[in-house]
């Protein structure tokens, strides 16, 4: 594979106006992106007493069941994930009969409180009306049954599966008397209780209500509409928050895993305004410390070149932060260009003009490294493979269970650790015989 040819085929940020213009590095992908079916499984995993019924091919059923065996959240082999496998007869005559029969078996054996009927590419191709089937089953068995559509040929990754599952949860809710709790929407990994935001809120006397989809029950979802506000901690939950606002008037504040201290401070301020609570004094000190560490880190990180893969942080906000550290983005992998990120994109573009490519295709990236010679790779890659090319891996997975200024500290520590690793690699190179 010719790395120069690959790079020559890439488009820079300034050349791209809409997401369809972002291309893959190559026409074939490995491993390729995850699909929304997996996203739906990740979301249902956190809803303790919800059942997931996958409707699709043997493969979709097989792999999803395998996924649910990781950890205890789904309840292991006897857990909350079951499936209906379709064959060519169902493709021709429709899957309704099979789904209805399987549903009956499932209700008898599992007595579920809530069921997500998760469609796959096949169901969407043959056009079965799974929403109508869900309504019919819901009425027949007097339990909430919601269809979640997860066809992968209409999207680029697994995130729509999470978004649609969360949106479907709103259909379970009924109007509730107002209370003084806040819901946390989009806490996908880790525990919200372990975050700085949780500490700040609880120390200020704010009560936490629903936490979805990391750790919640069906009853908590049903009663969530009366909350004082929703905190959206991941953009996959934004449509859910908007739907709750439309349906029940629940206001929401976006407080994602921002990295830049200014953005975090702003999010805290907006949140306490929405809650009508005075912001705690400690925030000023936390902000000052985060700013101070940022300035110190800048001395060590400026001029370092990176390729961005994927992280738990908001993509363009984080890259803007890195650009402010005077780091140089060479390639940013993204499957989305959200309108609300336009300002960040334009800012990055005003300083640099990185290539934009679609993610999850690490095989050809190996050849791009030889041409662009990055210092860092930010995201998931094989560290030993990168090391051979004198590239340090910047890890960020632990940020999945953080919110607030702790993210600034963690992100900067990770970057500085990678910088040390880089120095070490160069020292070893100097010492090694020619």
């Amino acid at each position: 594979m010719d790395g120069h040819k690959l790079v020559a085929s890439l488009k820079r940020m300034s050349e791209i106006e809409e997401v369809k213009q972002i291309t893959h590095l190559t026409h074939v992908l490995f491993p390729g992106t995850h699909c929304p079916l997996m996203g739906a499984a990740l979301a249902v995993r956190g809803i303790q007493d919800a059942m997931m019924m996958v409707i699709g091919t043997d493969e979709c059923a097989y792999y999803t069941k395998s996924l649910t065996l990781n950890g205890d959240s789904f309840g292991g082999l006897d857990g909350r994930c079951v499936s209906v496998v379709l064959d060519s007869g169902d493709v021709t005559f429709g899957s309704r009969k099979r789904v209805v029969a399987a549903f009956k078996e499932m209700v008898e054996e599992y007595q579920p409180k809530v069921v997500f009927l998760v469609t796959t590419c096949l169901v969407e191709i043959i056009g079965d009306d799974m929403d109508a089937i869900a309504d019919e089953l819901s009425e027949q068995y007097d339990i909430a049954v919601m269809a979640v559509h997860t066809e992968h040929f209409k999207c680029e990754n697994h995130l729509p599966g999470i978004t649609r599952t969360l949106e479907a949860c709103v259909d379970m809710m009924k109007p509730q008397p107002a209370n003084d709790k806040v819901n946390v929407l989009g806490q996908r990994m880790g525990s919200f209780e372990g975050t700085e935001l949780y500490q700040v809120l609880t120390q200020s006397g704010v009560k936490i209500g629903l936490q979805i989809p990391s750790n919640c029950s069906v009853e908590e979802i049903k009663g969530a509409s009366g909350a004082k506000a929703n905190i959206v901690v991941n953009d996959t939950a934004l449509p859910m928050a908007k739907k709750m606002k439309r349906k029940f008037g629940t206001p929401y504040v976006v407080f994602e895993k921002f990295v830049a201290p200014q953005r975090i401070y702003q999010a805290y301020t907006q949140l306490f305004e929405a809650l009508d609570y005075p912001p705690p004094k400690m925030l000023e000190e936390k902000y000052r410390q985060a700013m101070e560490q940022t300035e110190q880190a800048k001395q060590r990180l400026q001029g370092l070149r990176y390729i961005y893969g994927n992280t738990p942080y908001p993509l363009f906000e984080y890259n803007r932060f890195l650009v402010d550290l005077e780091m140089i983005p060479l390639v940013i992998q993204t499957a989305d260009l959200p309108e609300e990120d336009l300002e960040d994109r334009l800012y990055i573009q005003s300083k640099h003009d990185p290539y934009l490519v679609l993610p999850a295709n690490i095989a050809p990236l190996q050849f791009v490294y030889d041409v662009l010679k990055p210092n860092f790779y930010l995201g998931h890659e094989y560290a030993h493979r990168l090391r051979k090319k004198k590239i340090a891996l910047v890890r960020s997975d632990q940020a999945a269970s953080m919110l607030g200024f702790e993210i600034t500290h963690y992100a900067l520590d990770s970057l500085q650790k990678a910088q040390e690793e880089l120095m070490q690699m160069h020292r070893m190179l100097e010492r090694s015989p020619a």
Binding site: H27, V28, C35, E59, E109, C121, F153
Partner: protein
């Protein structure tokens, strides 16, 4: 009865992919949404299949689905051909490309002149049947593509036809068969269909003197090779001591060679222990024991017979794959299509020696003696390649399990 609580039987497409992934000098391009490929990577990894530069996806957009645009596939083929230079590119349909009727064979036909690699389309798509059907079809397609009559056969060589990465202890069984063939006749393996092989190896298939047909799915291709190339075959797996001796005798007849005396002696000695077990079985009236087997055809047949030889009556021989492609189904083997039916059988077992997969074993009560003998294997990666279920070593292992099972029975 259509609810799947655990794992469905893998599809024809899955069987095709795990087989092709073990063929060196080739690359698979999946024509379909990327998620299936990514999702499958872990599964194929668990089967011990190398994935680096072996499988790629084109992904597929709504435009491709609605408009039937195959330009994405065309570009993918050219790219893999020029970048990786494989001898063969297998284009595997996804359920989606199969349902919309994408003409993958047509694309391969007109793209062939533009590529150095040979293009082979596999259009099954995962909706026609289970992996048994996929194995039958992939053996036949590859035979059509690569097996040509050879001017001269290499004496005392054989092919294994019907090895499959999904079978429990597949690599160990292959190693045991290789050992038996070498020790009994000094024979060497020519080509292994389709596990840990290469295009070069497949192309020299017709040089072998004999085919060892390990599974019913491989029978059609073995018959065809016998008819067109004059390569005789021996069918079945060498399970148990008697089974192994009989199997070796059939092989020896074709090779016109006697079983080496040392091996024959070893088999006879081992067989004596089984005979004594049988003779003594009346003494263990209160602990006769019984067995139930769940798995692939050759396993439930061969290991079932061995256990009966050990005076352990087999109450159930349950096929966990469709018998669609099995032409000679024995009456004592049943296929239970629905998972519920299989669970009902398993849940009713008591004080039984049970050979099955992890999901079914999970459902056996604790008073049963459980042996992991079938796929899926859920709780352990298969690392050992020297622990067979077949041959002398496989029978040794099983006998130890039988002893352990019978000892505490009251």
């Amino acid at each position: 009865m259509s609810l799947v609580r655990y794992f469905p039987t893998p599809s024809d497409r899955m069987g095709i992919i795990w087989s092709l992934m073990t063929v060196e000098q080739s690359v698979i391009i999946e024509y379909g949404p990327a998620g299936t490929t990514h999702y499958g990577i872990g599964f194929y990894g668990a089967l011990g299949v190398d994935r680096e530069n072996r499988i790629f996806t084109t992904h597929m957009s709504e435009d491709d689905v609605v408009m039937g645009d195959v330009s994405r596939l065309e570009k993918a083929i050219l790219e893999v051909d020029s970048n990786l230079h494989p001898k063969v590119i297998f284009i595997v349909a996804s359920p989606i490309s199969a349902v919309i009727g994408a003409d993958i064979a047509g694309v391969c036909a007109y793209m062939q002149e533009k590529t150095s690699a040979r293009l082979i389309a596999l259009e099954q798509g995962g909706l026609r049947g289970d992996y048994g059907l996929g194995l039958t079809q992939v053996y036949q397609q590859l035979a059509e593509a690569f097996v040509k009559k050879e001017a001269r056969q290499v004496p005392n060589t054989y092919n294994i036809i019907g090895a499959s990465a999904y079978s429990r202890r597949a690599r160990s069984d292959i190693n045991e068969i290789k050992r038996l063939m070498a020790e009994a006749f000094g024979s060497t393996l020519n080509a292994c269909w389709l596990l840990d092989t290469s295009i070069d190896e497949l192309q020299k298939t017709a040089k072998a003197q004999l085919n060892l047909c390990l599974r019913p799915e491989a029978l059609p291709v073995c018959r065809r090779m016998q008819e067109h190339l004059g390569i005789p075959f021996v069918k079945g797996m060498p399970y148990g001591y008697t089974g192994t001796r009989n199997w070796l005798s059939l092989v020896g007849e074709i090779l016109d060679l006697p079983i080496a005396p040392n091996l024959a002696k070893e088999l006879a000695e081992k067989q004596r222990y089984v005979n004594s077990m049988k003779a003594m079985s009346f003494m263990r009236k209160d602990r006769q024991g019984k067995a139930a087997l769940f798995g692939e055809y050759a396993l439930v047949q061969g290991l079932g017979d061995f256990l009966e030889e050990c005076a352990i009556p087999v109450t159930h021989r349950v096929l966990t794959q469709s018998p669609k492609v099995i032409t000679e189904l024995l009456e004592n083997i049943v296929y239970l299509e629905s998972e519920r039916e299989r669970l009902n059988v398993v849940e009713a077992l008591q004080d039984t020696l049970v050979l099955a997969d992890d999901a079914l074993l999970h459902h056996c009560s604790a008073d049963n003696h459980k042996i992991r003998a079938s796929a899926p294997v859920l709780y352990a990666a298969e690392r050992a390649h020297h622990l067979p279920l077949c041959g002398i070593h496989g029978a040794d292992f099983l006998l130890e399990e039988v002893d352990a099972y019978l000892y505490p029975l009251k």
